[in-house]
């Protein structure tokens, strides 16, 4: 029997908050910015109820810094922002990559560049999520198209942050963030929650914060406990001490990339709709996937063999999976609200990039099923 108290009618931003609470968030630092502010507002109310901490910082950079500091004391920490704020966080985000600090950054995307279109939808930050901070690195970025999935990927974002000791980006968008729909909060245990892996090294024994175990994971030690170590954004050795020995530098950089890129299959989350016999495949994510699914369902009822591959993990890009799913398709239409960010990845992934088309919309309005249908009809040679 479903517990009625577990059924909510909420905004996507609130679904994200519920997911964070479920995942065990202890700490949030943020700065007001549309369209993500509701995440901060709800956590300001919810966190102290469970003994957690909320702080509104003086700016976006400070929020990201505070989140990293909190994570080092052993807390599950998160911040939320949108385009301009996401830009400001990039240096500290790179620090979290380099120092391998678990944390979650929600970016509820709005139109950009610059101040752009604050109250309207966009998916223009996909590449920024990947390459916003300077230098080579790998990143995990997740997204979702409905509130039940926002909840789930938020939990997974916290899980992956702990598993891979890395910042994880939740790439939501304005439509998802502000739209209201039903959310059923799962029972505890329905979705596994990954806790902080702490070192078993005893007091007085040399602890190496940056020496991976055989399984590649790096157990942590909370600030304040018996192991005192150094954390730095400089290239560093297994003790966390700055080191620019060429071998140390190369090994660390390769480790930072490999720990994520080599686990692309474990990290990759996606959903399939009518894909078994699909001749036409729509690849989409976030709110635009809703229109893709709607349109495909409609065409299916008219006998068109069309399916949808909805990506929930955008980074690391699941190129092998996309290639396999798209093998033999007559045409692949990538549906996204930007000038073509994921479509580039899809073209790189598939065997025949000439069969890949972009259905996009960049005017601040949600892409509609009929927008996508027009492109499909042209590809089919039927005219608009």
């Amino acid at each position: 029997m479903k517990n009625k108290n577990n059924i909510r009618f909420v905004q996507g931003n609130e679904a994200c908050v519920e997911g964070a609470i479920y995942a065990g968030i202890d700490f949030f630092a943020g700065y007001p910015i549309t369209p993500s502010t509701e995440i901060a507002e709800h956590l300001a109310s919810r966190l102290p109820q469970k003994g957690g901490k909320f702080i509104q910082m003086e700016d976006e950079i400070a929020s990201m810094g505070a989140v990293i500091g909190a994570s080092l004391t052993g807390k599950k920490a998160m911040t939320a922002t949108s385009g301009p704020g996401f830009s400001l966080k990039q240096e500290a985000l790179g620090y979290a990559c380099m120092a391998e600090i678990p944390c979650v950054i929600a970016n509820v995307q709005r139109g950009g560049p610059s101040t752009g279109n604050p109250t309207h939808v966009s998916q223009g930050d996909v590449n920024q999520a990947r390459w916003g901070t300077h230098g080579d690195h790998a990143i995990i970025a997740l997204t979702a198209s409905n509130h039940q999935d926002v909840f789930k990927v938020t939990v997974e974002a916290f899980n992956m942050a702990e598993t891979y000791r890395t910042p994880v980006i939740l790439l939501l968008d304005e439509v998802i963030g502000h739209m209201r729909e039903k959310l059923v909060i799962p029972e505890q245990g329905d979705i596994p929650v990954v806790e902080r892996l702490r070192t078993s090294v005893k007091k007085g024994v040399d602890y190496h914060p940056y020496l991976p175990r055989e399984d590649g994971r790096l157990p942590m030690s909370d600030f304040g406990s018996e192991h005192r170590y150094n954390v730095t954004g400089l290239f560093h050795d297994m003790w966390g001490f700055p080191n620019n020995n060429p071998q140390v530098v190369s090994e660390l950089l390769r480790h930072l990339v490999d720990k994520i890129e080599s686990n692309v299959n474990e990290i990759s989350m996606y959903k399939e709709y009518w894909m078994d016999d699909a001749e036409y495949i729509l690849i989409s994510y976030g709110s635009s996937a809703r229109s893709a699914i709607h349109m495909a369902k409609n065409r299916r009822s008219r006998g068109v063999k069309i399916g949808v591959l909805e990506l929930q993990t955008l980074w690391p890009f699941p190129a092998d999976m996309v290639r396999e799913k798209c093998a033999g398709a007559k045409a692949i239409i990538v549906v996204e609200m930007n000038m073509g960010q994921v479509v580039t990845q899809v073209k790189n992934a598939v065997d025949n990039p000439d069969n890949v088309f972009l259905a996009n919309r960049v005017d601040g309005e949600l892409i509609t099923p009929s927008n996508i249908k027009s492109l499909l009809r042209m590809i089919q040679g039927k005219g608009v």
């Binding site: 910082m57 003086e58 400070a62 505070a66 304040g224 005192r228």
Partner: protein
């Protein structure tokens, strides 16, 4: 409890030495004063988190055998705020350079002071960007030479003490590396103070600031700290009110500390009062 004799080796990480400061740099005196302060307070090394940004002074965090967080330029107070608020029983100490604290980090500085979060900020003011090779800082003041001011600076300087006071810091003090014992005592007071504490320490950079501005070698620069400063309330200051003042400017125990204030929020929230 019998007090152990201070031995700096009990507090440093030998792996990090020799340090990277130039001969004649004042920062080592600050490090010595800081370690003596920690020793005299009898603090457990496990309860101290040293958070720093980028610059010569910021390297202190690596040298000490505490929990250490060497972060990004200017943002140390923001990182330390996260550490402190999430685990308030930790002692948060933040050594900063003048450029790190007051140029790129100026916003975090005033807001940490405004919140009155229990962090001890030690601004090591050498009036120059040392690590990048001698560019003027917001503390250089006008009419100075620097690599980015070949025709003299036209930028006016901040008064760190006045800025901290205005921003609401509840403990504000100043000393110089000439006055090493006073430094130690003020750092002790700063760490013991429940709230945001600022200790400004004038420290010489003979390599860049001194050389460019013909202020002599390290010894001469230190002697100028003796000549140009005076203790608050001293006869020397009475005679010459234009001298740079040393001592405690603010020691206010009436303002609620931020983490304690948040604990009350938690109490309220847990009772279900929104």
């Amino acid at each position: 409890m019998t007090k152990q004799v201070f031995n700096f080796k009990d507090y440093i990480r030998p792996r990090f030495f020799p340090h990277m400061w130039c001969p004649g740099c004042g920062h080592g005196i600050v490090l010595g004063a800081l370690l003596r302060a920690v020793h005299e307070l009898g603090l457990d090394k496990n309860e101290i988190v040293m958070t720093s940004g980028i610059g010569c002074s910021s390297r202190i965090s690596g040298y000490v055998d505490f929990h250490s967080l060497h972060t990004i330029h200017g943002r140390a107070l923001a990182f330390a705020t996260g550490v402190k608020l999430s685990k308030p029983n930790l002692k948060a100490i933040v050594p900063m350079g003048d450029g790190d604290a007051l140029a790129i980090g100026g916003n975090h500085f005033i807001h940490a002071a405004r919140r009155n979060i229990d962090i001890t900020a030690i601004v090591m003011n050498n009036r120059i960007y040392g690590m990048t090779g001698g560019q003027f800082s917001p503390l250089s003041g006008s009419g100075k030479k620097a690599t980015t001011a070949p025709y003299l600076t036209i930028d006016r300087s901040f008064d760190v003490v006045e800025l901290a006071k205005s921003a609401g810091a509840t403990f504000v003090a100043r000393s110089t590396v000439y006055h090493a014992t006073e430094c130690k005592d003020l750092i002790k007071k700063g760490i013991s103070h429940k709230g945001f504490s600022l200790v400004e320490i004038l420290t010489q950079c003979p390599t860049y600031y001194g050389r460019k501005n013909k202020e002599g070698d390290a010894v001469q620069m230190m002697e100028s700290y003796k000549a140009n400063t005076a203790k608050i309330g001293s006869k020397k200051l009475e005679k010459d009110p234009g001298l740079i003042q040393r001592g405690v400017f603010v020691d206010n125990k009436d303002i609620p500390e931020y983490c304690e204030a948040y604990d009350k929020i938690i109490e309220t929230a847990m009772k279900g009062k929104a």
